[in-house]
Symmetry: C2
Subunit: 465 residues, 2 copies
């Protein structure tokens, strides 16, 4: 081939070399210039198109680097052999985005709510600004895979004071949310384990662990929490528990049961307890219940905590405290995984804790939630003949267990008709049991006091129908 006529548009935004490149590429793709065909020399084509030789060279180089043509020393440029080029044609893809119309309820007693009006926006903005001002390049460099040491240190101090957790900053691992923390733990432990769950349980963790490929087993609870004898009989080697405030029943595991659980872990090598301390910050009567980890004398407890509940769900910041053996395994199998939390966020929360904002924020939300809790308990009094309250004085939801034989789904349906969303305990059970009494969860963290009163009055009416 010695001629190649291309209509160049010198007023186009597209550079001339790119127009030449596009033209030849599409001719090769369409088969108009076949395999093996020699292209005109750069000198000849430049002359023919009345452009500079370097323009043509640039076009040829691009074709070369993408592999459409090949160069043979002293002979020139030839079209490369490319199979299956006809496959290049693709149908246009259309976005399949479904606009999901989620029903919005007038009142929503979600147990996962967080009050965001009390969030200290100004403090957050100030900390964020100061940090971006100070650290410059250091802040954007690769960070410590385990989380920044200063931040881990702030967390271990906080955990010691507030939760009785006994650890050094070395044992703390930072991650972007509790789901990720479990994924990382899965990578460290491997999935050759059987993990026992309280039933009912925190389903999100259960799903993550199940999807990671672990064998899981539900263990029944009595009024003290997970039954250790039942746990023993499952053959599980890891127990996932929420001892300070069982999710969702609100049971506090008493010291006696805690000791039994620890004893279970001590009895065999390789047994561990995962203590998920997800919302221990919120207790409205007396002091917080200390963490199980603080009683562990043989490094058997993997402690999980999060700032998503206590600061805001969009703060993707959770952590775990590893016992010695697992820390060793982490250093071997997981410490090469880069951190999932930006240094900026780590610094903000570190300062938030160290400068006392976190404690103040906790006190503020605790007072707020306590008022809502009290209003809810008071508003529920007229329902005393049809249901019993449990799980009060802590957390951000209570449970109503019905005495009158109504079905859970009917109660939810009746509430729904009155534009109120309530949640059934069945959703948290691993083993469904039709014989269990209907139990409804009412969360109040995100409900105004007036709304609580109004909504409960309506529920009282519609649940009696």
């Amino acid at each position: 081939m010695n001629e190649l006529t291309i209509n160049l548009d010198s007023r186009s935004k597209k550079p001339l070399y790119e127009q030449i490149y596009d033209y030849i590429k599409s001719d090769i793709q369409n088969g108009r210039i076949p395999y093996g065909e020699k292209l005109p020399s750069t000198r000849a084509l430049a002359k023919h198109l009345e452009v500079s030789r370097s323009t043509v060279e640039l076009a040829y180089e691009q074709l070369l680097s993408e592999g459409y043509i090949e160069s043979a020393p002293y002979r020139g440029f030839f079209v490369a052999q490319i199979d299956e080029l006809y496959q290049l044609k693709k149908e246009e893809k259309k976005s399949e985005r479904k606009i999901e119309k989620k029903k919005v309820y007038q009142y929503d007693f979600t147990p996962n709510g967080v009050d965001l009006n009390s969030f200290p926006y100004n403090v957050w903005r100030k900390l964020s600004k100061d940090i971006l001002m100070d650290d410059r390049t250091e802040l954007f460099r690769t960070g410590d895979p385990q989380g920044e040491y200063g931040f881990r240190s702030a967390i271990s101090n906080y955990l010691y004071q507030a939760r009785g957790v006994d650890c050094t900053p070395d044992q703390v691992l930072i991650g972007a949310g509790s789901d990720y923390i479990l994924m990382l733990l899965g990578m460290i432990l491997g999935t050759e384990h059987m993990i026992a769950f309280e039933d009912p349980t925190y389903k999100q963790a259960y799903r993550v662990i199940h999807t990671l490929g672990y064998e899981t087993v539900p263990v029944a609870m009595d009024r003290h929490g997970m039954k250790i004898q039942d746990l023993e009989s499952t053959g599980a080697d890891i127990a996932y528990v929420t001892p300070s405030h069982q999710y969702p029943t609100g049971i506090v595991m008493p010291i006696g049961r805690r000791m039994e659980l620890l004893k279970w872990a001590y009895e065999k090598d390789g047994r561990y307890i995962i203590e998920d301390d997800y919302d221990s910050e919120f207790r409205y009567k007396g002091k917080p219940i200390p963490a199980l980890q603080g009683y562990d004398a043989e490094d058997k407890v993997i402690y999980l905590g999060t700032f998503s509940k206590s600061i805001a769900p969009a703060i993707r910041l959770s952590y775990m405290v590893l016992p010695k053996d697992i820390l060793k395994a982490y250093r071997k199998k997981g410490s090469f995984v880069n951190s999932t939390v930006s240094k900026v966020d780590q610094k903000i929360v570190q300062h938030f804790i160290e400068e006392g904002y976190y404690e103040r924020h906790l006190n503020k939300t605790r007072a707020l939630y306590k008022n809502r809790h009290d209003v809810l308990i008071e508003a529920l009094k007229p329902l005393g003949d049809i249901c019993e309250i449990s799980g009060e004085h802590a957390g951000v939801h209570i449970l109503l267990t019905f005495k009158n034989g109504q079905k859970e789904r009917n109660l939810i349906e009746k509430a729904k008709k009155a534009d109120i969303r309530v949640y059934g305990l069945s959703d948290y059970r691993i083993r469904k049991d039709e014989k269990e009494k209907a139990t409804i969860l009412l969360g109040y963290a995100n409900m105004r006091e007036e709304d609580i009163k109004e909504a409960v009055a309506i529920l009282n009416q519609c649940w009696r129908k």
Copy 2:
């Protein structure tokens, strides 16, 4: 027991109820008050200690809720049965923090460097401030597990224009870093796959995938990249490739090889290609090489990208583009996993892209890296008799292959003695092969031009010794 003498300190910061609680708890723990012992009534103890009855009640309630005592209706409070309390004593833990003294070199040719002096701090700060000003509560609510739609939309537009990637925002998944993205992909695909890697390869991804439990297999390369015949014979069903700029060799997979690779994937159900497009932004000659994903007609390519290379390592923001089948699997098995990236960060980068800052930043760093690249190539000319350069004109490192039979580790050692850090290609190989020619990687993204000149002059001397 009818008396219980406790020395209360009314000037202590610790509330009186807590002093009573602490005293009784430690007496139970030490066995001074044995199991079954009846505690004094709240009335009697209050009188005895000269405190209000509610103070004692509060102390008892705390002991009750932690399970140290139990109440029997009409009879009073008794010490609960707690096994193994002697185990409570723990030795004090000492921080095992080792202050790792990493050798700091005068010149470090790391191939993973990023220039952070050119980072647009002011823009970042402004965007961050504006976003924290605007959105308030919405910004801190739970986000879309897949990533915010607006951000995914910005990414899919950018990918189409800059990389020829053909996707809708539905197919885009946001995650906190490339390691996490691979962990999430592992959760979606399950680990019952054999993944083929180019050899040498990007070891970080290899390690993550290996640790997740996948079977992995190295496949040899020729000058066009992964050999498809070798791939075919491995029995792998997933191929992990870096076609636009092979890491670390810098090979651009030509269109012909790309078509062969796609054909391999089309031939059997369940075969997929993972295209890691980690640093395609940096090309100093001609246009960027379009992504393989854009040629894929049968939804076989899982496309991975990141902002860690192009913005800053501490920006924990990567993404993947899923083909239809895998997207379905994600919706079933992975979409319940909460997002690992804060909404604030997603918004910042979304605006960074949409307001043109990203393109400007890329142009600026590309120009900067090109200069450093050119200075390095020029400085290396005197070494032409002992080594050959490859992998130039793109990315942020080049390779030097030695003709004079020197050993790689000797070259690295000689450089080290001159306080210069260079990297050996062997570190990137899955199969070690002593017969391979010594090849050194020189990264220049984080080196000043003067330093490049000085360091190369020193290398030229010490490598000849």
